[in-house]
Amino acid sequence: MVENRTFQNPRNQARARRYSFLEKMRIARSKRTRRSCSYSSRLSETEASQVDAWFQSFLTVCTEIVNLYMSWLLGSGIFIPSAIYTLYTGGHSRDDAVAHLLRSHEFAPEHFPRVDYRDVDFWYNSFRNKNFDLEQKPEYPNDLTRLENLPVLDKVLSNVGSEDQQKLRLVCHKFKHFIDSERKLIKTIRIQLNSDSVNLLIECGITQDIICTAYKRSEAGCEIIRDGETVTSKNNFIDAAMEDFKSANQRTDTKITSLLIISSKGDPNDEDRTMFFSKIGQTLSEVKEKVYVESLLMKDENVDELEIILTGIKPGRLSAVFMQTRSTDETDLTRIVDKNQHWQYLKQFHASSQIDDLKLDTIAHMDTVRISTTSEYSAQELLDYKIVNMNPSELFKQF
């Protein structure tokens, strides 16, 4: 068969060489097998037992070598990291990896050391951070009774309000460094829609640095003005502003003390206004986690627009809403009061528009409320809820 084949091109010639080499190997192997069979048939019983003894001692030596190699491997320090690396690259979760390694220990305790969760955590973190040096020496905090040694310090801080977080920065260098490196504290974001531009102000909660940017409508798209420099963009001026607004919000657990959304009295046209709010809603919905805002101020907006913004904010964190509506006569706040998921957590609520049929128990949990209502209350009711009636048409409650 081989002889009949023709191999014209170099690739086929190489294949032919390889084929003939394999063929030779096959023949040599079959000859060796025949020879060993004839040897064994010619061996006497004594010689055969001698061969067996040699073979046994050869096996013993091999086992010793393997054992020595295993002892070296176990003592080398890369045995466990290698095993963990295999599990990591195999896509096993941290818990699965620990379970597999413990199972290995249970089956062969003398050959496979017991693995600690901390080992798996250390190596998984290292691999996730693209550090694949298997000769690292894992280090673990000794004193677990100290807050600064907690591996979930970020989780604790995510539950702390922005004001308290500022104070924690002053406690010690370690906390300052930790909080500053996270860069997750924003004092103010103020976004304002004008007739032909959007202004965005971001004030950092750590350094107090302020970044002001103006996005102006132009024929080609927009002009972005920041620090006295102008850059042109093909994007619409609202889209360009939203990109920066999104980048300020997209880091999870970023805390914004105050979010101000303002529509200027310069009367932006209805099309821009609709686009502006739908883009804000879209931007807030696109960030990984709902945005942490403690205080929301909206000026010249209506209730629909307020609802869009409230939907994008993390419930349980928003404690103050200040709302100055555009046209007080047409605004109906009743659908916000007590029905919105933020309502039960609010401590302050100020609104310029009128709320009909306001039940006092819906505002009982708040510290201060400033609203107008057409409802009438008895003196006892007002006393019960510690309401200070400042004005016949305006309720003001302050403890």
Partner: protein, 201 residues
Amino acid sequence: MSVENAPVVDVDEAAIPVEKKMYYRFESNDKKEFRVSELAIQQSETLNRLVEAMGYTSEDVENKPAIAIENIDGKTLKLVFQWCEHHKGEAIPVDDGSVPKIVEIPEFDAKLMDIDNGLLFKLIWAADYLNIVQLLNVSCKKVANMAQGKTPAQLRRVYLLPSDEEDEAAKRAAQEAQDPRAREVEEEFEERKRQGGNSFF
């Protein structure tokens, strides 16, 4: 410690159905043994995966050694398993940001966590280590609540945090304890510097 003498975490007997339930045995780093129900273990992602992978039968649980949890002491582990037993069968919150996370501390948890700060931090550490999502949420919330309205000096006291000066001094003392020659070398270096020498060697 023998199985008979092992401290058993309080279990609500009425809540246990008639069919035979498996109770796993765990051992803390100070050799205290705990028997914990299968349902309670489900609160810990880590322990749940572990017992699944081990594939123990009821006989194995009794005959094999207790599963060791090397770096958690008995006092902390007792709190962890008490929490797990109390919250067994409850849904484990998914922490993927899809659901707004509002952490409320239930009365039982508040009572359980009414402990000294050192133990509370150990409990957080254990909850993270054993991947018990809700216990981690409530304990972190509890620690965060302790910060409310405090000054930096008060925060240091509440969280048992050393000031930077104290921290530096502790580090220096630890270094000296580790290498007594280091202090001498440092003093020699300072002396040479005072004498105007630019090079130490």
